[in-house]
């Protein structure tokens, strides 16, 4: 297998992490909604925490994307 083929396969495998992060981000917002619907009066004060959780989950997906790009364009 030559380098270009291996790069494309590797980048595709690295892109799986993006999908995993999307599950994580969905879980963060879904859990927030579950909590918020049980106690709507407390929801507004927790949006900051929501976005911190979102950022933490999303960062790993972005890292996976960065790794995919590095693999794809490495020479």
């Amino acid at each position: 297998m030559d380098l270009a083929t291996a790069q494309v396969i590797g980048a595709g495998l690295a892109a799986i992490g993006v999908g995993a992060a999307s599950a994580g981000v969905g879980f963060v917002f879904g859990s927030f909604l579950q909590g918020a619907l049980r106690n709507p009066s407390a929801a507004a004060s927790q949006t900051g925490t929501l976005y911190i959780g979102f950022a933490a989950a999303e960062l790993l997906g972005l890292m996976a994307f960065a790794v995919a790009m590095i693999i794809l364009y490495a020479r």
Binding site: G48, Y51, I52, F54, A55, E58, L59, L62, M63, F65, A66, Y73
Partner: protein
């Protein structure tokens, strides 16, 4: 079947001097990045100056600016406490610059030929510099206020001694990674979003070139590009908010030490 043009989504991030295509010659050049930074700055200035009328009953513009500044003030106040006011200028600057750069970068100015906007925040050097500034502020505030006690930030004092010994390097590494992860987030979000836009924008053109069933693909791709562009505006705003919020939280660590 028309000849397949190779999709090159990376060329949109190329930095080159205004009016030229290559980056050669003098090390000090007015590049497209500089140009769009100036444009972002001009838009911010117009937006802020338009609201600084100090009327008792604010007009629409002033109400927008007041709400905007109040939002940033709320970020620092809710995460740092009453002392947060002191750190509002930097949080406000970072939030405003990233927000306006993201949104201006996603605007469809390319309808005018040659007016393709350059997203300033799609370069890691820009967001990385901003995150390093945040990190420098955290270090300066931490050592200024607490001296060498600042290192107790990494020591889990409620944990058993053996456990705290193991937690110390982990906390230290997670602290040192912060400037990297903070700057990476807005950068990759813009970078990935614009690659996606470029790729699907190419699908529209290639579908039209192919003809026949290609027109259906063009329509689908065009709808997709439209929604992704809307999503890009949302992501740009969220990333700016996250940057400001995390900066405020990191400063809170330095000010209050847990």
């Amino acid at each position: 079947m028309a000849v397949q043009a190779k999709i090159d989504p990376m060329s949109q991030f190329m930095i080159h001097p205004v009016g030229s295509e290559t980056l050669t010659g003098s090390p000090f050049m007015f590049t497209n990045s500089s140009l769009w930074m100036m444009i972002v700055l001009a838009v911010i200035l117009v937006f802020m100056w338009g609201g600084l009328k100090r009327q008792i009953v604010p007009g629409r513009w002033q109400a927008a600016v007041e709400g905007y500044v109040g939002f940033c003030d709320n970020i620092t106040r809710s995460s740092i406490g009453p002392e947060g006011r002191k750190y509002l200028p930097w949080v406000f600057t970072a939030f405003t610059f990233i927000l306006f750069a993201n949104i201006i970068g996603a605007m469809p100015f390319a309808i005018i030929p040659g007016g393709h906007p350059f997203t300033v925040t799609s370069q890691f050097i820009v967001t990385g510099t901003m995150s390093l500034t945040s990190f420098a502020i955290v270090l300066a505030v931490g050592f200024w206020r607490h001296g060498l006690h600042f290192f107790s930030l990494f020591w889990a004092k409620d944990a058993p001694f053996i456990l705290a010994l193991f937690i110390f390097p982990i906390e230290l590494i997670s602290f040192l990674v912060r400037p990297f992860s903070l700057g990476l987030r807005p950068f990759i979000a813009m970078f990935a979003g614009h690659i996606l836009l470029d790729v699907f924008g190419n699908f529209v053109v290639q579908g039209i070139n192919a003809g026949g069933l290609g027109y259906a693909i063009s329509v689908l791709a065009f709808l997709f590009v439209t929604f992704v562009n809307a999503l890009e505006l949302l992501v740009g705003a969220i990333q700016a908010y996250v940057f400001a919020l995390l900066t405020a939280l990191y400063i809170n660590d330095a000010v209050n030490l847990h």
